[in-house]
Symmetry: C2
Subunit: 225 residues, 2 copies
């Protein structure tokens, strides 16, 4: 270990990379796993929330300003997706009140429960994720009951996402401002692989070509003769 | 020059990279300029056609099979976009009858007329592009009059594009089968830069992450404090 007092830090970012996620989304899960590995290696990432149900809602289609907000819906309203995603978002806000590490541990536990183990986004799954993340259970219960407060912080995330123009998850916003959806099919928890996948993404966003989109065709052709 | 009889060719691709384009699209223009630079350096690219008007047509929305084909429309039918794109496609088919170099020269001339010089996709612009590409004028006129034949070869491109799942232009299909839309904002005619932009794209498509999409958020946030 070098002495931070005598070493100028040149490689770590000055600010954090925001990662916008929705617990509904398996690609957000892979993105959070990737970010968690890099975070464990000392890079700063901050969990933010974007609602796919809100983003895809018919009342918001083609609107310059968001008309339909997930945070204005009652807990028992709407589709199973809507209810599950709202419950998960509010629980994540409550977990974050126990600190940044708690927020990440809870998010990872809940994403894995949903997308690795096929659990529904309901109260039981949320409680199990809180246990796995070693949250203080009494404090978590108390914070969960502050529905208005949790909705207010969630709303701030949804507003920032709308301002940035987030349309899917995971979307990463780099400290230097570049913001893009990054969808990849494979899961990694290997530090070197995570670093390589992340560096490739950052390289694309900063490349002189000004890459706006790389998106595979829907049907992948077989290797040609 | 090395003697092809005694040299094993190891760097050039075995097959060609197909590039699907629509003359309507400024991103296709940049993609064709990029491919033309690499082609001048010895890499094999083949011009193919995908119709944005057809791809975005309401009659085709949500359909597994294409219901509305541009090649079934009469020349004077539909919007200005539809008429211009069909005329340009058919002219490109006619130019290609004079060989691959003629096809590229014509496509570059027509793309530049449209997107660099703001000309409409009409008969005058097409004739001027044919002159600039040094096509044989009599043969070009004769080939242009073979409407049914030109539509048949265009239709083959549109069918291949549908099968691959092309949804926008430019879409490149690598010799190894990877197929993706590649939208970038900047224009290059510099060989080293073109090579770097192309290599980055290929790297993304072959990366172990299994990248499906990198797409910028709609509003690019300013650099954060």
């Amino acid at each position: 270990m070098t002495d931070p007092q005598t070493t100028t830090q040149t490689t770590a970012p000055q600010n954090t990379t925001d990662v916008f996620v929705d617990f509904l989304c398996p690609y957000a899960w892979r993105g959070v796993e990737l970010a968690a590995v890099l975070r464990a290696g000392g890079e700063a990432f901050t969990l933010r929330h974007f609602s796919l149900v809100q983003g895809n809602h018919a009342d918001n289609a083609g609107q310059a300003e968001t008309a339909w907000w997930l945070t204005d819906q009652s807990a028992g309203e709407g589709s199973e997706y809507q209810q599950g995603s709202l419950a998960a978002f509010l629980a994540a806000q409550a977990a974050a009140r126990q600190g940044e590490d708690a927020a990440w541990a809870f998010a990872l536990a809940l994403f894995r429960a949903r997308h690795e183990h096929g659990q529904p986004l309901n109260a039981d799954t949320i409680q199990a994720a809180a246990v796995q993340a070693a949250l203080d259970p009494e404090r978590f219960a108390a914070d969960l009951s502050d529905d208005a407060g949790l909705r207010a912080t969630l709303r701030a995330d949804l507003q920032d996402a709308a301002e940035i123009g987030v349309f899917g998850t995971p979307t990463f916003v780099l400290p230097t401002g570049e913001a893009a959806y990054y969808r990849f099919e494979n899961l990694t928890r290997d530090p070197a692989q995570a670093r390589a996948w992340w560096d490739l993404y950052v390289t694309v966003l900063r490349d002189g070509a000004g890459v706006a989109t790389i998106k595979r065709a829907r049907n992948r052709p077989a290797r040609r003769a």
